[in-house]
Structures are given as C-alpha cells and as structure tokens.
Symmetry: none
DNA sequence: AGCCTAATTGCAATGGAATTGCAACAAGAC
DNA sequence: GTCTTGTTGCAATTCCATTGCAATTAGGCT
C-alpha cells in the first residue's frame, strides 16, 4: 500500500466518521487541505479541483460541510476572504483552548496554557459566557 | 457652549487636522462612532445616518477615508463583517483592547480591562505579536 | 461677501463572493 | 441489484462593497 493509498483511506474514514458520504469531490477537498502547508481560500481550492471537473459550488458546499463536521477550520484574515485549514486531530484538541491566528500567513497555532487573569474573567462574565478565545497577530515566521 | 457644540467642534477639528474636509456626512459618521460604546458595522452606521439623508455609498467612502486618515479602526471579528471603531487617543478606545462577540446575536462589546496573565503573555509572545484579542461567546442577553 | 477649484456627494451601474433552487446523479444500506 | 437519501452541477440570485460620472459644496483666496 502506497503512502497515497493510505492517506486516501484515512481521508475517507474521517469523512464517514463525521457522518458524511465519502464522495470524490469531498475526498479531494479534504485531501488537498490536509496536504497544504497553509490555509487556502475557496478560489484556490476551486482552481486546484477544477481540473478534476469539480464545480465551484460543490467546493463551497463541501468546505462548509467539512467545517460543520469539525474536519476543517474557517479562518478569516483581513482581506475579507474565508480561508480553510484542515484540523489536525493528534495535537490535543480535546479541551477548549485559545488559538493564535497570524493575519499574514493565516496559520493557526494552539495556545494551550493561555488564560485570562482572574479580574478579566470576571469582566468577561459580566458580558457573557466565553466559549472561544482567539488572538490575532503577526506570527514570528512572518516578521 | 453646550456639550454637543463642543464635541462637534472637536470632531470637525480632528477631521481637518487629518487633511479631510469637514462635511456634514463626515462629521456625522465620526460623531456617531465616537459616541458609540462598541464598534459598528457599515450597515448599522448607514441605518443611523439614513435619516439625515446620507447615502450608503457616502457612508462607505467616509468610513474608509477616516480609517485611512487614522481616525477610525477597521476590525474584523470573525463574522465576515467589517466593524468600525473610533480611535480616541485620550479615552480607552485608542489602544488595542479585546472585543467580545456574541455568536447568537452578533453584538459586540469592548472589554477595556481584560488582560492575559503574565505567563500567558509570555506564551503568546513565543508565537508572535498579538494585535487583537477576541472572545466569542453567548452574551447575557441571549440566555 | 463673493468667487474658484478641488474634494465630496448621490445615483446608477458594476464586480465579486457566497448562496439557493432544482433536476440529475451516485454512495452506501438493504 | 435496487432503493433511498445525500450530493452534484448548472443557472440564477442575493448580498456586500466598489467605481464612474455629473452635480454639488467646503473652504482657501481675494
């Protein structure tokens, strides 16, 4: 079994486990993003998959479906265009933890041990119940 | 001189110092945002100023002009909508501060006094330079 | 106060991302 | 194999943001 066959099976399995059908278009989208070293925009994904005859709208729906299924993450830089990134399951996504989003390259890093000060937690609670903390900035690779 | 006259003069002065003409539409936009306690979207600003007969496009251009002039800040809070916030050098909103975005109703609050713990700041610095902290959650009105 | 010019406005038209409706099609359970 | 239901492709549409252009006006100048 080649490396590609293996990754193909992993991708199929992940899609099915998420409750979606493993269609060629869906597989291609997830595989492309898992292999990409940086988040891709919808049009970048479309461009790649147009050769395989996949429709723009299908790419769009699949990206959204995969986000909803928890296999992709939607990131937004400052150009008002959605970017999509595969979520890597190995790297401890068990408990909720803050993320750092680089507004230059779009990469997302996990900040496992970042927390608010006690007084900040109280201030936040006054406004509502926090479910996610996201820090925007310029990552060290982009400077 | 009333409070309003005073703030009107301050707004006019700020616009002129930025190298722009103090037109009624421009004044209204900046005044509205300086009085708002949270960032407003373009459509929220438009809605407010439509009564005064200001065109959508004019609002748009003025928001952009004022951002370019350094009087407003454009924030992207992950819901794919631009929000604009006055940069007021004397009072809190000048420096970067965290925002709380309700994922239910989309309302935004400013959290002036929320900060990370010292160790969290160090952890963040390892990844990069933070420019905005964003907290998502359910606001108290939506529960 | 009145004039002049460049900045600004309003309106209509345009651009482009994202979405929807629907008929045709295919994945996967039986 | 067949059947059901999720999925796809295409065209049309919605929504947000921007642009071109003629009409208007702010603010410097006399």
């Amino acid at each position: 079994m080649t490396q590609d066959d293996e990754s193909l099976e992993l991708v199929k399995q992940a899609i099915r486990e998420a409750g979606l059908r493993a269609t060629p278009a869906r597989i291609a989208v997830l595989q492309l993003l898992r292999r990409s070293s940086s988040p891709l925009t919808h049009s970048e994904v479309t461009e790649q998959l147009a050769r395989s005859g996949v429709d723009r709208v299908t790419v769009f729906r699949n990206l959204n479906d995969l986000v909803e299924a928890g296999l992709l993450r939607r990131a937004e830089l400052r150009d008002h265009v959605w970017r999509f990134e595969a979520i890597n399951l190995d790297s401890g996504h068990g408990s909720a933890h803050p993320h750092f989003l680089c507004v230059d390259c779009g990469s997302v890093s996990c900040l496992g041990d970042v927390v608010l000060t006690a007084s900040s937690q109280r201030a936040t609670a006054k406004v509502g119940k926090a479910i996610e903390i996201l820090i925007h900035g310029h990552c060290n690779d982009c400077r």
